[in-house]
Point group: none
Chain length 410, copies 2
Amino acid sequence: MINDFSKRFRDLIKEDGGKIILCVLDGLGGIPYKDGKSELEVANTPNLDSLARDSAKGLHIPVEFGITPGSGPSHLALFGYDPVENIIKRGILEALGIGLVPEKNEIFARGNFAKCVQEGDKIKVLDRRAGRISTEDNKKLVQILSEKIKKIEDVEVSFYTVKEHRVCISFRGEGLSDDIGDTDPQKEGEFIRYPSVVGDATYEKEKMAKIAYQLSLEIFEVLHDKGLCILMRGFSKVPQIESFQEKWKLKALAIASYPMYRGLAKILGMDVAEIHSGTLEEQIDILKESFSVYDFFYFHFKMTDSAGEDGNFDEKVRAIEKFDSVLPKILLLKPDVLAITGDHSTPSKIGGHSFHPVPLLIYSEKRAFRDGFGRFTERDCMRGSLGTIYAVHLMPLLLAHAGRLEKFGA
Amino acid sequence: MINDFSKRFRDLIKEDGGKIILCVLDGLGGIPYKDGKSELEVANTPNLDSLARDSAKGLHIPVEFGITPGSGPSHLALFGYDPVENIIKRGILEALGIGLVPEKNEIFARGNFAKCVQEGDKIKVLDRRAGRISTEDNKKLVQILSEKIKKIEDVEVSFYTVKEHRVCISFRGEGLSDDIGDTDPQKEGEFIRYPSVVGDATYEKEKMAKIAYQLSLEIFEVLHDKGLCILMRGFSKVPQIESFQEKWKLKALAIASYPMYRGLAKILGMDVAEIHSGTLEEQIDILKESFSVYDFFYFHFKMTDSAGEDGNFDEKVRAIEKFDSVLPKILLLKPDVLAITGDHSTPSKIGGHSFHPVPLLIYSEKRAFRDGFGRFTERDCMRGSLGTIYAVHLMPLLLAHAGRLEKFGA
């Protein structure tokens, strides 16, 4: 994957230029399924189709040929970050996913309630998911733990229910590092681990490992009568990633209703619009109201992915049509550049994320190639003027279309 | 060129998943020649065309834009190895090409019979190819040398006729290194060289250099009356390349009748099917019989390349039609993934290997995009959903289509 744009050309990026709207229809791409057609091909999308004729079309590879990405890496790539060098670990993703607002040095771990038994001074794992207990039971356990355990040494500890057997644990205190391994042995019949230290040992890493293991022991003590403990994974704080504004010289607003996407945008230093109802109409209203204030709008639409994940072809078609119906309102704002794409494909035939290239269009009255043919479908995007590109190339293309890149060389 | 897949994503490769057949029609790609059409466009290929409509199509660049590869590098790239970092040197390729089965520490050199003359204690080269002597004469000289020279010090030496003035020499003994330069000065009027040592000097390299030079002297002594010696190049043993199975977690069988391709597969640790008649039908029978035993099948078909090399357009058309006729038998096996491509292009208009992108199709009922149009030709592959990719991206794509890659990130 090629992502040295920032290193090689960052001096070309201008402070001014046109406004850019990037609409991410989550999981947009599909593959032929019903009557040999994809969801985009079946959907009735007069507005997208008309825009597709007036736009440059193409496909993007989210991370790499053959790689099926999670939403974290695929969004990082769309925003122009190398998704392999900028890994966002499990703990922080889980925290963002349930809507927590991480403090700067707060460390999060993803946890599983697990059936355990004492052997000597160790805790042996019997069932890594405690029989997939209900979310209700999870909440009760979290309440008990929250009352009984508030601190380990000088470190504040908080517990949050996620879903079923899954919890999120936060650690707040001075001098902690997230460069430690898991307490989760990943296998039943093995013991809860004293976390290893990643790389060279430091006081901060050793302290964090000690606190995490001590917490495991105290959790087991509190839940001893139920034979439960918590296995912890992916210790992480907010990662040190260059801000979107620093990287691209764009003042950006995220208009997304799902916690994880809002969290990701926050990690990149974008402003994140407050959302109340979470409807597409509300998102459009926010876009309108804030249009004069920002240079770049990340507009996220989740329904396409949810339907694809459920393997529900018709529902994904409806989600696409829903977006199509609000598109004229976006066009009324006359953005200098409007890009519409997905973060990855979620074909309902597969019922999950996939590695397939994702349809993409870039509309810009001033600077975009006008393909002049076809609809906004995978098959027509294949033949579009943008070709098939890596997702990390999208941001430079958007800047270029917005007149935000100087000429290179004389 | 991009080939860090193994480094960045190898943890995603699963031990299980679907079966993959990779059919390599050697030298498949062509350029328009007769009536402005390529061989694939003229050929009558109902089975390939029907499959092409049901498959994802594209083109691959074997090594790099503009690079015309030999069969060694182009196959390495198809198997997902960086063909520049994994050079297979001349000696071992020559040995494999004539069907030798290298022992682990055996060293091979490619040799030329050359006209020489003594000057002092040195041997001066007059004609580097000894007037391109006939293969018959070559055989007689090899017989003489084989009788007179069996060992240099404790190292066993063997001579093999290749063709015309070309021979292959093998060295078997303890403590030998292939990291030495050539005895061939590459220029007429210069002296046969005492091989240089590559990198830091070691006992093994110095021993090999001494043996090789001593052998040159003894050959010249035996053939002194004819004024002939042998110039040696590309000393090499079987290279240390990560095995295909280790790299991709696939148990692989090579079904190829030509020695060089069998040899390459062996170097990569694939099992290599025994071949008797060498017909396409025999290859199909082997595929059928072994289908339950392996995960990955490398199926090599040579005729397309041979015809192209001969500049014989009609013969290449017939070769393509021949493969088309057996395709239904391959499809009957219901592989999870079937890829059909070439290792490089050999347009009969050019009469040799070329740098042109090579047609490619990937068929997978479960996961491939179904392009739904066109035939299996260069022109239709250009517009296919796979786009134009580097050959080293093929293996990750095949794994992805076979469901053999985990999701990357959350």
